[in-house]
Amino acid sequence: MQDHPWLRKLVLYREAVLTEAGLAPAIPAERASVAAVISNPWLGTGPREDLSPAVSELAPRLAKLVTDRLLQALGGVERIEAFGKAALVGSAGEIEHGGALIHTPYFGNLVREFLGGESIICFADARTDAGQPLVVPLWHKSHAATRSHYQTVDVRIPDAPRADEIVVVAAASTGPRPHPRIGDRTTDPVITSQTLEGVLS
């Protein structure tokens, strides 16, 4: 039986980097995204429409749907180290509709809980034609400032979003970039325009 009548399709993308710049990563990571293509529930409504009833009804179910598959694809919550989210809104909708589905606690809190994180979830959103790629940012699920885990995954569904659809995405990674070597807040020297006077002059 159809459990989600508003859902047209789900697309999983997963990549495992075996070598980068000719060398195997010290910590090999897998990145994945799960995209749900759904009908825009606010189609034909105006900018004064109260979005909250549909948000509380739809966003939690979307959060469960996409994180279940993400956990399955990456081998469980313990393996996931970084996360991100995104919405692609078809041309007949507002970007606010995408935001409504991913930026409220009805989605974000649940994705954070299901993926075992504590950080704010970084995001991308766009109003696009079907088949346009969107780069989704990820960062560490509990320590957002962990520089080694700043990374992205590219999401593209060839035939979505149609004008009347929204694509809702959750993405995650099991580790850092392949060869992270740009330090961290703990190792950075103090940098201001004054310390760089020689460089900037």
């Binding site: 047209r8 789900l10 993308y13 990549e15 495992a16 075996l18 070598t19 000719g22 590219d154 060839p158």
Partner: protein, 183 residues
């Protein structure tokens, strides 16, 4: 063989033409991004050594992965070789158009037909359509379908993307009369 990355794409279609698809239609693709074995060698008249060194290993690697991703018996299948801009399409064809490559997938899927294929050359991030046909009878019209794939950062000019695709069923909402009705 240097593999840079392995990409898995799984589509699960729940509705098509405004009507429910149940059980959901599943299509899976697994692609390996590899160094072109003939990169930097100029025109190589005999590709046999590169084929022998790579084609069977690629088939053995990708076949179980795509069936595992599909999580169902395959009813239709196809393959792809997308060559980076510095290579020849012949290089991609060499890797996928031998029995050494395809037999692994045929055996794993209990299939008998030849694998339909796309082979093309393109820039990094090029989208490509993999054609799929029925695994034991390529004339079964309900199972003619395609899946579109794109790896955002591949193939580099010196790389080849080699992929296998499998579908657990024919097209969602397939309703064409079989070929036999026109014969």
């Amino acid at each position: 063989m240097n593999i840079r990355k392995i990409v898995t794409v799984v589509e699960e279609i729940r509705s098509e033409g405004g009507r429910e698809v149940w059980p959901p239609a599943r299509v899976a693709v697994v692609a390996a991004v590899i160094d072109n074995p003939w990169a930097g060698q100029g025109f190589v008249p005999d590709l046999t050594a590169g084929i022998d060194a790579n084609a069977s290993d690629l088939g053995a690697l990708l076949s179980p992965l795509v069936l595992e991703a599909l999580k169902a018996p395959a009813e239709a299948y196809g393959k792809a070789a997308i060559v980076g801009l510095d290579g020849e399409i012949e290089h991609g064809s060499a890797l996928i158009h031998t029995l050494k490559f395809g037999d692994h997938f045929r055996k794993a899927a209990n299939a008998t037909t030849l694998l339909p294929a796309v082979e093309k050359r393109g820039p990094t991030g090029v989208a490509f359509d993999i054609p799929l046909k029925h695994i034991t009878d390529a004339s079964i019209r309900s199972h003619h379908q395609t899946v579109e794939v794109r790896v955002a950062d591949a193939p580099h000019p010196g790389e080849i993307v080699v992929a296998l695709a499998a579908a657990a069923q024919g097209r969602p909402q397939q309703r064409l009369a079989p070929l036999s009705t026109e014969q």
